[in-house]
Amino acid sequence: MLVFLFILPIDMFNHHYEKVGQTYWQYSDKDDSFVVKAQRKIDLGDAVSANVFIE
């Protein structure tokens, strides 16, 4: 329930971009680092959204 409380939108129309490039993210044990990669091509100026977790 706490999570639900935190995602209540208050500012849904206050956005500053037209297109969002979706990404995958994961922790790379090999490199000991957090990596983010594009799900598909992201164009110049697109906002980047890190919202998919791959195990």
């Binding site: 329930m1 956005h15 500053h16 993210w25 110049l44 906002a47 977790f53 195990e55």
Partner: protein, 252 residues
């Protein structure tokens, strides 16, 4: 040209200063104007703005700490409100951000602080200990004027008033008649009780106010990543990557 490299690295003002210092004959005037214009367009602020300087310091700190990023820039939308945008094409499946372990905050980072270790040793009951220890780590660093994390903390949100827990009276009145009112009261009460338990167990915890603790805990909740690190599920905070963790709009 060195100024172009500095611009690409996000060192906007260094690029401008370099051009201006070599502009005795006016041959770089056009380039200076161009960089200032690009700064406004790509970062959302003029180059002389204090927040641009914070972004520059942060990106430099990330790079010096070993982070690698390609074709991404932080963009200023408003006070305490930023995003990450592509400043060039990023191919499908291309890794464009790599943040090494030394720049990642884990619950263990908080347990290893002096006060975190005392909280841990006290065995006081806390809700979601991983959130508590990451919150403690951030607060300890925020209180430390010499913190190595300062460039990150300088671009870290200071306000949480878009979270229901911190709504003003008008915003709360809009929720009347919904279950949210009761849920919020319950969550606030739980955090308050947790805070009081921690103070009873470790009196030094009083150096952090209740408001500070609540605000930082909700900010951590909204920015945390769940990952598998060496076969262990872990919750971590990742500078820069934590900014675009949300979906398209500002839900939190």
């Amino acid at each position: 040209m060195k100024a172009d490299v500095l611009w690409e690295m996000g060192q906007i003002n260094e690029a401008i200063e370099l051009l201006e210092s070599n502009n005795k004959d006016g041959s770089f005037s056009e380039k200076v104007v161009k960089i200032k214009k690009m700064c406004k367009e790509e970062y959302g602020l003029p180059n002389e703005h204090a927040d641009i300087k914070k972004i520059e310091r942060f990106m430099k700190w990330m790079r010096e700490g070993g982070a690698k990023f390609k074709n991404v820039r932080m963009r200023y939308y408003g006070p305490d409100y930023r995003g990450v945008h592509a400043c060039g094409e990023i191919g499908a499946n291309e890794v464009f951000l790599n943040v090494p372990k030394n720049l990642i905050i884990t619950p263990q980072s908080g347990r290893l602080t002096e006060i975190g270790a005392k909280i841990l040793a006290s065995k006081v009951k806390v809700n979601w200990d991983y959130l508590v220890y990451i919150t403690i780590f951030l607060m300890v660093e925020m209180h430390n004027p010499e913190s190595a994390w300062k460039p990150y903390l300088d671009v870290y949100p200071r306000l949480a008033n878009n979270f229901p827990m911190f709504y003003n009276e008008y915003e709360k009145s809009l929720l009347k008649g919904t279950p949210m009112v009761e849920h919020m009261a319950s969550e606030i009460s739980q955090i308050k009780e947790e805070y009081e338990r921690m103070i009873a167990a470790v009196p030094e915890f009083k150096q952090f106010s209740l408001e500070e603790y609540m605000r930082n805990k909700v900010l951590v909740i909204s920015r945390i990543f769940y990952v598998k690190m060496h076969n262990v599920t872990e919750r971590i905070m990742v500078p820069l990557a934590g900014i675009p963790i949300h979906l398209t709009y500002r839900y939190v």
